[in-house]
């Protein structure tokens, strides 16, 4: 029996479709009820529906063997996992964004900048590790774009897909921190103890990715 942790929402649907194409019976996972654990004994699969940010935790502790989760969550959570495949979908960028007049290197001229973000760990790693500067991080939980508009922060670090929300609010991407896409993660112990089930699954997932 393999336990698979899925991020509730669009990513879960895509992951299920991919597993089905790979030959796994995911009928259980498509149950429309509000159950959080969906099990199919015949298929040898159990799905758990978790908040995206919790998927790496379930997998790290071994409560789930495999997880499907965005690279943004993996970077932010920094868990000790095997990251075995890039699913290629859910593509977007983690960006530093701010008022348009901060483009072309002007951002770097602001000392001790205040940065609003949902991703404090990624933000700290980027500014301290890559850009070698001290910053003040303000953790917000949504509508991050508001922060620079209202004067709470100089700029933001957030996920950008189309950039439309930014544009409509007079903001723009200033720098790219990382490219994001959905990943398959595996618990370190499960990889050893259940390798006869997990390894073929990873191979089949990779075959499907190659077809996308």
């Amino acid at each position: 029996m393999l336990t698979i942790a899925l991020s509730k929402g669009r990513l879960a649907e895509k992951a299920i479709a991919l597993l089905e194409n790979a030959g796994y019976d995911c009928t259980a996972a498509k149950d429309e009820s509000r159950k959080l654990i969906l099990e199919d004994e015949n298929a040898g699969l159990r799905f758990i529906m978790a908040k995206p940010a919790d998927v790496p935790t379930y997998v790290e502790y071994g409560a789930a063997d495999i997880g499907f989760v965005g690279k943004d969550t993996l970077l932010e959570e920094g868990r000790d996992l095997y990251e075995v495949a890039d699913l290629g979908f859910g593509k977007c960028r983690m960006c530093v964004a701010g008022p348009v007049d901060l483009k072309d290197g002007k951002l770097d001229l602001i000392p001790n900048k205040r940065i609003a973000t949902k991703y404090p760990n990624i933000t700290r790693a980027y500014f301290e590790g890559v850009k070698k500067e001290s910053v003040e991080i303000i953790k917000l939980n949504g509508s991050i774009e508001l922060a620079p508009l209202i004067g709470l922060a100089d700029c933001i670090v957030d996920i950008v897909e189309s950039g439309r929300t930014l544009k409509e609010n007079g903001l723009d991407v200033i720098e790219t921190v990382a490219d994001i896409s959905a990943r398959v993660v595996v618990n370190r112990v499960s990889m050893k103890m259940k390798s006869s089930e997990i390894k073929p699954m990873i191979e089949k997932i990779k075959e499907q990715i190659a077809l996308l």
């Binding site: 071994g62 000790d80 996992l81 095997y82 990251e83 075995v84 890039d86 370190r188 112990v189 390798s195």
Partner: protein, 398 residues
Amino acid sequence: MNNAKFYTADGFTDTLPGICAFKKQTESNLRELFRLHGYKEIETPGIEYLDIYSRPGFVPEESLYKMTDQKGRLLTLRYDGTIPAVRYAAGIKDFDPSSLPLRLCYIENMYRFAGSGGGKQNEFTQAGVELMGAEGADADAEVIALAIKSALGAGIKDLQISIGQVRLYDGIARQLGLDEQTKTEIEKAINSRDTVTIEKTCDRLNITDEGRKLLLMLPDAQGTYDIIEDFEALVKDEEAINALNNVRAILDCLDEQGYLKYVSVDAGLMGGSVDYYTGVIFKGYTYGVGFPIISGGRYDNTVEVFGRRMECVGFSLSLTLVLTALLRQGTSMLEKPVDAIVGYAEGFRQEAYAVVERLRDEGLAAILDTTGMDSDALDEYGRKLGIEQIIYVKEEEN
């Protein structure tokens, strides 16, 4: 005093009676196992100078519990068993090199912020050994075999030991001419089995097809002798070839003891947060816990940091994780009632003392009632607790 804290600190927990009894018994079994293999137990202080741990590559600094002594010197709670053993071995006063190797063992509690050694518990018990002043595959295999025996002896049935060799990747990196930064980057990718990053890096650096094949084999290769042969077909660097020979010789030793069935070679096994490994490296896994229960390897350059050259290999077993695994695998650790309870009628205390002592001499856990229960009350109490022998002393014994 109503605001007294009735709960344990973050990351710390009580070991309850049934589990505690099981744990102490397991500790005794391990202690005896180590003794039978010639390992001498040492106790090191629960608190060490921070200095012994704060060296590059030893441990992640942020995981150490730090404090100061009354003179303001920095101290840390014991993080592991290896570094204190190393400190001790490097400082032995009447040191006689001809008496090596030194065999040390320990069973102690370790303290780490958010470490995985205890499955995220900040305090956990480790049992481990250090074989010091011994080079070569025979020494490596002795320690790995003892790790296997320890886990089996503790009651773990489904055991999987993975063996890697840090020199293999070092040699391959040199063979391919990787610079320091790329080497670290790929090492991280191998450690997380991230083949995507390895391929991207190969593309970026125009690494040859053969080199690419080698690098992609590292995170993927698992098996025993077959893996070694696969690598030998491609590896040219002398250090890497020596690493493969070392692993083969270890497998031979383990095979001769019938332990090969627990072992597989994992070429992608890396030191992770601990950077002092210089040769073989191994981890042990079982069902029920998401973290390795055994961790070990060879560290030839560590004692030297403290001023004396000694090639070493060791392992530690997390008793805390073993207990978690056993509980999840269905082992019962229920608290058992005592074997006997003795009560007495007024005037017969001395006789009761004699009775209860005799039971204890027979090895039974026996308690003497101190609350003055009469025969019926004692009977009811004894039954309720499931005590097998209920004895009420009311007349002189013959």
